[in-house]
Amino acid sequence: MSGFSEWLTDVNDVQASKALAVGLPTKRVESWKYVPTRGLARTTWQPAVPQTTRQFALTGGQFVNVPTDNGLTVSENTLTGSEQERLDGISQAHGFGLTQAALEDTHLILTVQRAMSVVLNLSHLANQASSAGFAALIIRAEAGAQLTLVEQFESTNVEKANLSSLRCLMTLERDSLVTHIRFQAANTSAHLFSNLNIECCENASYRLQTVEFGSKLARNDIYIALSGREASASVNGLAITNGSQYHDTHLTIDHVVGDTTSEMTFRNMVDGKGEATFNGRVLIRKDSQRSATEQSIANLLLSKNARVNPKPELEIYADDVTASHGCTVGSLSKTELFYLKSRGLSETDARAFLQYAFAEAIVDEIEHPDIRKLVETQLLGELKHGELIAELKDSVDV
């Protein structure tokens, strides 16, 4: 890890020396098996510099313009014991976790007050070439609070590799609801690392809708603990991987107690020389009776050089559960293509229709009309020959 090592050598603390000693995870680390780390290791990284903006944004590893909405508290106080423990858990997982811990200097703590409802729009600004930013965000949703968190990534072109890492801890107190929408269309030199560590207490509900088109490399580690009865989690994700992009999501839903439900639906569409990895794991612990989980993973391979590595895992230690998963890999359905062509659509239009349909199943779930529209528009831009559908949407959608 020459690039990191140079930087880490300058950071004078225990975490940094640990990170240096361990090094970046290699292919032997099961969860990093497919991650191409060469670009990461070769770049000589500099700390990123924050840019001026008027939005609530993460830039150069700093949060700027933190909102002061009614119902929202920005706290100065430190992490709770359990939050620190969860963060340490991420750090200890492998050498990159230790690196994150060593280089993060911002911990923003946001609390959505009891029974209040807040919408947060967080923009991720692109870091400059060869620069890297590390930050942590702690969100506490108090009992009965409702939060909609919308994350978007600025797509400004950056010529050389740039890196951004955000570790986010969320604690959902009883009866709270967090709708988390993530739309990642970052510049194609970006290396993005995102850790989400969610804890849902009794009857709390966490809903994640994530769509990923951008970046050179994106690695998402998501861990959701359902630790109170009647807690629930749903994840709907789409990754469109093209060119020489690499997208990787490792998602674990942990049914810590019984009477909890979860659902994950993830779709990969891979073209060009792209590679996508999705590891979806559901853990139902001993005595977590009456838990229910459903997983569905669909993968579309559109080119000869595309590659996909899906893995739906079930780890179950309780017997009174319903758990199922389905996973498919394939190209566009010949039958569906034939049907569309028999109705007069050209080969290219028919293909675009089916690609759009594949993605739309996820995009349609986005619970925020403006973002959904934005994603749909950009989705059509991503597709080869998406114009026909764009035109149809404009003309006949009410």
């Binding site: 034939f338 062509k341 659509l345």
Partner: protein, 247 residues
């Protein structure tokens, strides 16, 4: 309009059609009847251009051109429409997108101007009424979660919009209850005209009670064994395919 001569086709190594000869003139309705596995559906699939079927001999001339040389979408542009026995579900694509894209693709190839949204909607609403379908159908995904009857209505709705010259209706009556059968049958009848031909592929006579064919052909083991007028269908209903074959 359509001349099928000595048509042989197979799926994998298995020959299914073993020499079909059929002449269909403009304005005629032909019914192809036969037991399961006789090759009825293969015939309509071959005519619509499904890939899995390999034509090993014979030719199909449609309006002066060799139909078998055309891609499925070129056949559609040339006025061939197939109503599928099992209409394909396409989750994520709204019915109305498909309808409008198809109508305009075909209009373009007929040298007609593209229909604007308002004109298109007016036309679609008209046809929906004929098919006794709710407007909500337009905004549902293509065939997804449709009942058997709804799927078949949707097929005939498409046919009405695309105004084909040659309609191939593959087991359009299967899975329909009595009311739906009447709606679908009348939908087909409305399309009958001196310029349009219909090839009805069916196992049973019941649709033929509503859509009276000009000719009936019995297809068994990949060959047309018997041809006649409407009365042949009635005879089949009485005597069954075995009776006919024995005769």
């Amino acid at each position: 309009m359509l001349s099928i001569r000595n048509l042989h086709a197979r799926v994998g190594d298995k020959p299914i059609l073993k020499g079909i000869d059929l002449e269909v003139n403009a304005g005629e309705v032909h019914a192809i009847m036969g037991p399961n596995g006789s090759g009825k559906s293969t015939l309509s699939s071959v005519l619509a251009g499904r890939e899995d079927y390999e034509v090993t001999d014979g030719e199909v001339i449609y309006m002066g051109q060799n139909l078998l040389d055309l891609e499925p979408e070129e056949r559609a542009w040339a006025g061939v429409f197939m109503s599928f026995q099992y209409p394909v579900e396409i989750p994520g694509v709204k019915n109305i997108y498909l309808l409008k894209a198809a109508v305009n693709a075909i209009r373009e190839h007929r040298g007609l101007t593209e229909l604007k949204a308002a004109e298109f909607l007016k036309l679609v609403r008209e046809k929906l009424k004929v098919m006794q379908m709710d407007e909500a159908f337009l905004h549902r995904n293509v065939n997804e979660g449709f009942s058997g009857g709804e799927k078949k209505r949707n097929e005939i709705l498409q046919m009405q919009l695309l105004e084909p010259t040659l309609a191939l209706l593959d087991e359009t009556d299967s899975g329909l209850d009595v009311d739906a059968l009447r709606v679908v049958g009348e939908g087909i009848n409305r399309m009958r005209s001196p310029e349009r031909s219909v090839l009805l592929v069916t196992h049973y006579q019941r649709l033929l009670d509503i859509v009276k064919p000009d000719f009936v052909h019995v297809l068994t083991q990949g060959e047309i064994k018997l041809s006649g007028d409407y009365r042949l269908a009635e005879r089949l209903e009485r005597e069954g395919y075995e009776g006919i074959e024995a005769a």
